[in-house]
């Protein structure tokens, strides 16, 4: 396991290096410079600014020095936001976004698994149809539409939650809900399909022939064997959450990281773009690593061969 983790983490580092490199050169290909929207600057002033940020050097040298700084944990200073260090921008803004994302993910997966399992157990009954209807609805409605609906009905009309405010857990409920619906619906669909398959397999009949009741059979034998596809989509779902949160954060005025990202792209704020891209990639690779480890925990056949019997 230790050997495996070491291997995976070295891959993670390699992935981050590639992401950083590709982003760096792609960004250099973007039209405009960080200072082009500040039209009042004279050519001399621009030269000074370029020199100060090292933008006068050849691109390759800039690339090397960027990598060197990155290894040391320094992602540079933002060009736009009061010369703040990019790392501190990320750290400051990361909290609310991570909170929303993980709340949405946990809520979505948990209820998705339950909804999918119930639909599978009650296959071809009205329960199944209702569950299917809501999952399709959940997949089809974009999170920002849902966000607005939740905001209007639960916050504005019924006054159950703050409309748009970031203050304590109560205010995180609506944005988390808006974000959770898509993962919930997706997990439910995958769960149902797999579970229908699993429920018709021989070991389920065997479980019943042992004297397990229907629900005992589901809990002891069907659930775990149906989890793999649901776990698989956690990776892509995380990406969805990240992009979804850009808009949802805006709607609920959550001081998250998504809003920052959009702003920095608009202003060619190279270090912030780079920093956020690397941060997102890091999150994603970690999620994928977690998913792979979960596979092994759920299904012994996927456990690593090395050292195995």
């Amino acid at each position: 396991m230790v050997k495996y983790l070491a291997k995976r983490i070295s891959f993670l580092v390699l992935t981050l290096f590639l992401v950083a490199s590709i982003t760096f050169f792609l960004m250099k290909l973007m039209p405009g410079t960080p200072f082009s929207n500040q039209a009042k600057l004279s050519p001399e002033q621009l030269d000074i600014l370029n020199k100060q940020y090292g933008l006068d050097k050849p691109v390759f040298i800039q690339y090397l020095s960027y990598l060197w700084n990155m290894v040391q944990g320094n992602l540079g200073t933002s060009f736009q936001f009061n010369n703040q260090a990019v790392t501190s921008i990320i750290l400051e803004r990361m909290g609310p976004s991570l909170q929303l994302g993980s709340q949405a993910m946990l809520f979505g997966s948990f209820f998705g698994i339950i909804l999918g399992a119930i639909a599978a157990i009650k296959k071809n009954t009205w329960v199944d149809s209702v569950a299917t209807f809501f999952s399709i609805l959940g997949i089809s409605i974009p999170s920002f539409v849902l966000a607005v609906l939740l905001q209007y009905f639960l916050a504005f009309k019924l006054n159950l939650f703050p409309v748009a405010l970031w203050d304590g857990w109560n205010s995180s409920i609506l944005p988390s809900l808006a974000l959770a619906v898509a993962p919930l619906a997706n997990v439910a669909r995958f769960m149902r399909t797999e579970m229908v398959d699993v429920l018709s397999s021989d070991y389920i009949t065997l479980s019943k022939s042992k004297g397990n009741s229907k629900w005992q059979t589901v809990a002891k034998h069907a659930l775990r064997n149906s989890l793999i596809p649901a776990v698989t989509i956690i990776g892509p779902m995380t990406v969805n959450l990240m992009t979804g949160s850009l808009v949802v954060e805006n709607i609920f005025t959550v001081p998250g990281i998504g809003e920052q990202f959009v702003k920095s792209i608009m202003t060619n704020d190279y270090p912030t773009i780079m920093g956020l891209t690397i941060f997102y990639s890091f999150l994603l690779t970690v999620v994928i690593l977690i998913v792979d480890i979960l596979y092994g925990i759920i299904d012994p056949r996927i456990r690593l061969n090395e050292g195995g019997k």
Binding site: Y203, L206, K208, K210, N212, Q216, D299, R301
Partner: protein
């Protein structure tokens, strides 16, 4: 012979898009204490449905339309689901056809084998695992103690079937139902599993219902045989009576198509296909494929005619008014053998 299980006039229907399939039609039989009863027949004859009705493990579209299944003087078909759960795995348990798919791939075998004990008895987890190790040793798993935490994929097909058998017998059931337990295995492993079942039966004094389409396997294990065709039992008797003195043309066909070591020509087979059970024709379901069929076979269901106290066959050929027919050569040879056997027995 004391009987431990009685199936009476069992009818099972399946609702399908094409219509209602009458899968089991008036099946009755008895299982005696300590015996091995084989149910033979081709695919779709209703063997599995019959035993799954006993366990009430049929698919959702199945409907046990009528009949009784008497165990311990009570009709299992009247049992609630909860009461039935107490019977399954404790009084009656089951082994399935494909050992590769009948074990839970994500649970260690120790837990799987111990499960019936934990369901039916108030025993600690530790004791249950200890009993599981004993049972695994009994069914011939080497190093059971060391392998108790291994998963099914770490075992071969034959070993897995042994594990499935261990699951079935750990609760010391009265009745073991084996639904084609050797079909998916190599011939050499097949005979090992059959020897194991015989051995266990002696040790635990169980009654076994053994389902198969392989008459070679039947000869090796059964005390009595029921031959099924199109959802009905068409002939039953002691194993020698079925093998050496068969009376129903379908049993003739089955035996005649058994490969033997000295078959030189093509293997015999029964022409045609089993009938559609959505709308079964009146009369003997086998009549259209039967070269010995009489006119009455197409019109009226034959009743059981007594051949001996233990041997019955449902064919009009046994009617006193029926014309005498000569069975296929191999069957005539078997009947000669049977006369020798009975003489030797006297």
């Amino acid at each position: 012979m004391e009987s431990i299980l009685k199936v009476k006039d069992l009818c099972v229907n399946f609702a399908t898009y094409a219509g209602t399939v009458n899968a089991i039609r008036d099946v009755s039989f008895e299982l005696h204490k300590g015996e091995t009863l084989a149910i033979v027949g081709e695919s779709g004859s209703g063997k599995s449905v019959t035993v799954r009705s006993i366990m009430q493990l049929l698919d959702r579209n199945a409907d046990i339309a009528s009949g009784e299944i008497i165990y311990n003087g009570q009709d299992l078909l009247k049992y609630s689901e909860k009461k039935m759960n107490d019977v399954r795995g404790h009084d009656i348990s089951m082994i399935f056809q494909d050992p590769m798919t009948s074990l839970d791939p994500t649970m260690s075998i120790g837990k799987q084998v111990a499960e019936p004990l934990l369901i039916h008895t108030k025993i600690s987890k530790k004791e249950a695992i200890e009993k599981a190790i004993e049972t695994l040793q009994l069914v011939g798993i080497d190093n059971a103690r060391e392998r108790i935490n291994d998963y099914p994929h770490q075992f071969s097909g034959g070993q897995r079937q042994r594990i499935v058998i261990a699951i079935a017998i750990i609760g010391s059931p009265d009745i073991l139902i084996a639904d084609e337990p050797t079909t998916a295995l190599d011939v050499t492993v097949q005979s090992q599993i059959i020897d194991l079942l015989k051995d266990i039966q002696k040790k635990l004094k169980m009654s076994i219902i053994f389902i198969t389409h392989d008459l070679g396997v039947v000869a090796g294990i059964a005390d009595r045989v029921e031959v099924m065709y199109a959802g009905k039992i068409i002939e039953y008797g002691e194993v020698n009576e079925i093998f050496f003195n068969p009376k129903h043309p379908y049993t003739w066909g089955l035996l005649d198509s058994m490969p033997t070591l000295n078959v030189k020509e093509r293997l015999n087979y029964i022409p045609g296909t089993p009938p559609d059970l959505i709308d079964p024709a009146p009369g003997d379901a086998f009549a259209p494929r039967n070269e010995f069929a009489l006119d009455i076979d197409f019109e009226q269901m034959p009743p059981f005619f007594e051949v001996s106290k233990t041997h019955f066959a449902a064919t009009w050929l046994l009617d006193p008014n029926a014309p005498k027919v000569t069975p296929p050569a191999s069957i005539v040879a078997r009947q000669k053998e049977f006369k020798k056997l009975t003489k030797a027995g006297e």
